[in-house]
């Protein structure tokens, strides 16, 4: 039987994590192919409903990754994003979502190695967790 391959939706910031992902690619760092990158101008643009929709439609996990605090291109978008993730981590587990399905990280533009490592460890973690049943559970 084919091994279960999770789908991870990653909302990444144009100025840092997206560039880090690009760097990881051009540096030919080997990473699993489970992540679907969505480039945002800032993690501060990630409305909670994007995360909710992703998880309800069957994404196995969502990664939000932006600039380190103090480095945001728009001064504080990443800090707003952190509060929203905090909020979602309060709401979603109450309806049976495993908290590990939503992850937030800070990965700067030069941290390609960090990006590849984040993806690798997240894929392993979600594989161990198993598929997100949300799509099956709601009609």
């Amino acid at each position: 039987m084919k091994e279960y391959e999770p789908t991870i939706i990653a909302f990444v910031c144009n100025w840092c994590t997206y560039t880090a992902a690009d760097l990881a690619g051009t540096s030919r760092l080997i990473q699993p192919h489970n992540v679907r990158l969505i480039r945002m101008m800032c993690t501060g643009m990630v409305d909670p409903k994007y995360v909710i929709k992703s998880l309800l439609e069957g994404a196995d996990a969502v990664l939000i990754s932006g600039c380190h605090p103090g480095d945001c291109h728009y001064i504080n978008g990443n800090l707003k994003a952190r509060r929203r993730v905090k909020l979602l981590k309060e709401i979603l587990p109450r309806f049976g979502f495993d908290e590990r399905r939503l992850k937030m990280t800070w990965i700067g533009a030069s941290e390609g190695i960090d990006f590849a490592e984040t993806v690798r460890s997240m894929v392993l973690e979600i594989k161990a967790l198993g598929p997100n049943e949300a799509r099956r559970q709601i009609m």
Binding site: R82, R83, K86, I91, R94, F95, W106, I138
Partner: protein, 381 residues
């Protein structure tokens, strides 16, 4: 300056006595208009009305156990920009708390509004109130009040105040300029007025009330009521948490939802002019529905019900004051207030926030610091 005062009740009728007080606000206290619930239909459900003529309070009845609308929205409408005169708004505690949230969201202003809060013994749902009041005369509000103060809110024909009111731990108004107290006094002989702010003190002085001490029984009456309500609330939290513990259960809980979005319309703190769920973002192509249906094998229509409710929780739960208008507005009697309040309790606790507590608290999603919640990002700052 009077901080606490006793207002005498005429003819054992606190409603008529308050009508006289409201008239005096216009005549003696330099108030331009009074916003107060009135039986506009000479009976029936009282609706908020803006009164400028001291003779037009004959149907005013802020003590009626009816709650057709959270008037915070009305006060927001009246105070978004300077109105040129002071409006005194007679409100329930949850209306004041919702208004505080709206002020923080820049949807209203406290400068031109004088908040008169009334002790709240609860209210029936809309249809229940219509049944309750039917055939009863003008004394129905006083009858309800005297029984409710004794702890009896249910009627012989099985009506009772709404679950939101039974679970409400804020029967005494906070942040009001003047509080009209009924707990701990004999409402057929007097009402207890006290000032919560310097502006309230000024008002009581203009009305020539003299200072008294707080009625002895008031504190114990409040404590007793709170105990009952908190016990009910905690049972409700437990039951609702269990009933919505996973997505299958949540789907069953919301099975009767027809996506009318009435809960959003009735919600005093859902203030967006245009809700995203009403935009063409959700006006999907017919082929899109078929694709979804094919993928799942079955698609509930109208779609996006769970998505809507979870998103609404993310948007408003930190501002939820638990007024229960969502449940009041639900055409299919889904216990939405129970769900929203249960989640709101968690999200507000997570941010050390309490909706409506103070105009000085920062709304959790409007404020942020460089160093906080490092657990969200795996311990890294």
């Amino acid at each position: 300056m009077a901080k606490r005062a006793m207002m005498e009740v005429v003819d054992q009728d606190p409603v008529a006595s308050l009508q006289i007080l409201f008239g005096r606000l216009l005549e003696d206290a330099e108030i331009g208009a009074v916003l107060v619930a009135q039986h506009l239909n000479k009976g029936g459900v009282p609706m908020p009305a803006l009164v400028t003529d001291p003779e037009r309070f004959e149907y005013a009845d802020p003590l009626a156990p009816a709650f057709p609308i959270n008037a915070a929205k009305i006060v927001s409408r009246l105070s978004r920009r300077p109105a040129g005169d002071t409006v005194a708004a007679v409100l329930r505690p949850c209306e004041i708390r919702a208004f505080i949230e709206l002020v923080k969201l820049k949807q209203g202003n406290m400068h031109d509004v004088l908040l008169l809060g009334i002790d709240c013994l609860g209210a029936f749902g809309n249809t229940d109130y219509a049944r309750y009041v039917e055939g009863k005369g003008s004394r129905s509000s006083v009858d309800f009040l005297t029984a409710a103060i004794q702890g009896k809110t249910s009627t012989e024909d099985g009506l009772d105040i709404s679950p939101a009111c039974k679970a409400c731990e804020h029967p005494v108004p906070e942040n009001a300029d003047v509080i009209i107290g009924m707990l701990g006094v004999d409402v057929k002989s007097s009402l207890f007025l006290y000032a919560g702010t310097p502006r309230g003190e000024e008002l009581l002085s203009k009305l020539n009330f003299s200072e008294i001490r707080e009625p002895e029984d008031r504190r114990s009456a409040v404590v007793e009521l709170l105990e009952r309500r908190i016990a009910y609330r905690d049972r409700m939290f437990e039951k609702t948490t269990e009933a919505t513990a996973d997505l299958e259960k949540l789907t069953a809980y919301l099975a009767n939802c027809v996506n009318c979005y009435n809960c959003r319309v009735a919600c005093p703190v859902c203030y967006c002019k245009e809700c995203v769920f009403l935009t063409d973002v959700f006006d999907h192509e017919p082929a899109q529905y078929l694709r979804w249906a094919r993928r799942k094998g079955i698609l509930k229509m109208p779609s996006d019900t769970i998505f809507y409710h979870l998103t609404r929780l993310a948007h408003m739960s930190t501002a939820c004051v638990g007024c229960g208008q969502c449940s009041n507005a639900c055409p299919n009697n889904i216990p939405v207030m129970e769900l929203f309040r249960t989640i709101a309790a968690c999200t507000q606790r997570a941010f050390g926030y309490e909706a409506g507590r103070s105009a000085d608290d920062e709304p959790p999603l409007s404020a942020f610091r460089e160093r906080e919640f490092s657990e969200v990002t795996g311990g890294k700052d």
